[in-house]
């Protein structure tokens, strides 16, 4: 890659893009689930962003803009096309009903306070890419619904319903681990206060 020939407003680009390097890499790795592919994706994102920077309006949301480039680049990659082909067509369909209450007797909070980080990472990994990305943008990048809407190019209503579905899917992914973990704690006699 050679970006050095680009005669652009490099100072501004650097000031805006460099602080996001680690975050973009983290997001790219979550999407691609592979270090080499994540590096390629970040590299291509920076190339595209630098080329497109003259069309970027300073003062608008740069973060949403560069995340959108990264995401679109991923979705048009071989792996991105493959994973999106497996997404059900109605994954943004109408709600199936009101959000069910979290059952407090399920040991969700036990997982979150006592253990495993790794279990949660695995559960996020196993989510369909559209759920994984929106959860990461909301929770890890702490984007507002408006920013997520700009990044994913979807209406805010879709952001809300997709987030809700993503969280529900994550809880479902976690349930087997929770049951297993609770069973192990009971077997070890370490089920304090549960």
């Amino acid at each position: 890659m050679d970006l050095s020939g680009a005669n652009l407003q490099l100072d501004s680009f650097e000031e805006l893009a460099i602080p996001l390097f680690d975050q973009l890499y983290n997001f790219a790795h979550w999407l691609t689930q592979n270090r080499d592919e994540a590096e390629d994706l970040v590299q291509e994102t920076y190339v595209k962003a630098l080329k497109g920077f003259p069309s970027f309006q300073l003062g608008t949301n740069f973060r949403a803009w560069i995340y959108r480039i990264l995401r679109n680049t991923f979705l048009t990659s071989r792996k991105g096309l493959k994973v999106t082909m497996t997404v059900p067509l109605d994954f943004d369909g109408d709600e199936e009903g009101p959000e069910p209450a979290i059952e407090h007797d399920t040991p969700e909070t036990i997982l979150l306070t006592r253990s495993s980080h790794e279990a949660l990472q695995s559960a996020i990994d196993e989510l369909p890419v559209h759920f994984r990305e929106i959860l990461l943008l909301c929770e890890v990048e702490e984007m507002s619904y408006q920013e997520i809407s700009e990044t994913l190019s979807v209406p805010i209503g879709t952001v809300m319903s997709r987030l809700s579905r993503a969280r529900r899917a994550l809880r479902n992914q976690l349930l087997p681990h929770l049951r297993q973990g609770a069973g192990q704690r009971i077997a070890r006699g370490t089920n304090h206060g549960v």
Partner: protein
């Protein structure tokens, strides 16, 4: 089933996206409804856990270097130079910290500021950052009764950009204090309140950036209490919240 309409919006509520004018009503319901309250707590815990677990991958040194070299087009302000300067600055900070700690010559003031920054970061990384969850100051303030040896006032936030998330007890220099957490445009702001007499002397009132962590901080003393406001939010936001506190105390 009760509370269905509230529960349908709980995610929006814990995401801080409920319209401002509806927030008070929502708060009042969550405070008075054990089911929604517990549900909101679970959702907040899940959010915190995802936030921590989601920060999983870091670029390799080799990739970072390759990118630096690629983007570095002008020596004057190159990516590479920026990183080298950052690395050099980091080395200076780390070396300075180690040296001053080792020699015991670090001013007490810096040590307090550093501990405040540590408390702020450690709390936000926690899966349960607050022990009393409420956006209502009339709920949060009484919660501290009997837990800390002083009383304080919390500002009215109506028509401000800030929202109260909750509070917890904390300790600094082995003295108990109050830790309040506020939210402004997705940034969390910690407000710490301690008795002035329990802290080292020489903590002058100031707005500053406590060095290595790049947070903004403001501190002042009033009525025998020492206040610290710290966040990665802008200095202007910190100052606005500090002014609200000063007006309330």
């Amino acid at each position: 089933m009760v509370c269905e309409s509230w529960k349908a919006q709980l995610d929006t509520y814990v995401d801080g996206e409920v319209p401002h004018e509806e927030m008070r009503t929502f708060d009042a319901h969550v405070r008075n409804c054990p089911s929604c309250s517990a549900d909101a707590l679970s959702r907040v815990q899940l959010k915190r856990a995802i936030q921590v677990a989601g920060k999983r991958f870091t670029p390799s040194a080799e990739f970072r270097k390759r990118m630096q070299q690629s983007i570095a087009s002008r020596p004057r302000r190159s990516f590479r130079m920026g990183w080298m300067l950052a690395a050099a600055a980091a080395v200076v900070v780390v070396a300075g910290t180690l040296t001053s700690t080792h020699l015991g010559s670090r001013p007490a003031r810096d040590q307090v500021f550093s501990e405040i920054a540590d408390l702020h970061v450690a709390t936000l990384a926690s899966s349960s950052p607050v022990d009393v969850i409420s956006t209502d100051r009339h709920t949060v303030k009484p919660w501290f009764q009997g837990k800390i040896p002083f009383a304080f006032n919390l500002p009215e936030l109506q028509n401000s950009q800030f929202s109260l998330l909750g509070g917890r007890m904390t300790y600094l220099e082995q003295a108990p204090g109050a830790h309040l957490i506020y939210d402004v445009r997705k940034h969390h702001i910690s407000v710490f309140i301690f008795q002035e007499r329990s802290l080292p002397a020489g903590l002058s009132d100031s707005a500053l950036q406590p060095g290595k962590l790049s947070f903004n901080m403001e501190t002042w003393s009033r009525g025998g209490l020492r206040y610290f406001v710290i966040s990665d939010a802008s200095a202007a936001d910190i100052d606005s919240l500090a002014k609200l506190f000063k007006a309330a105390s």
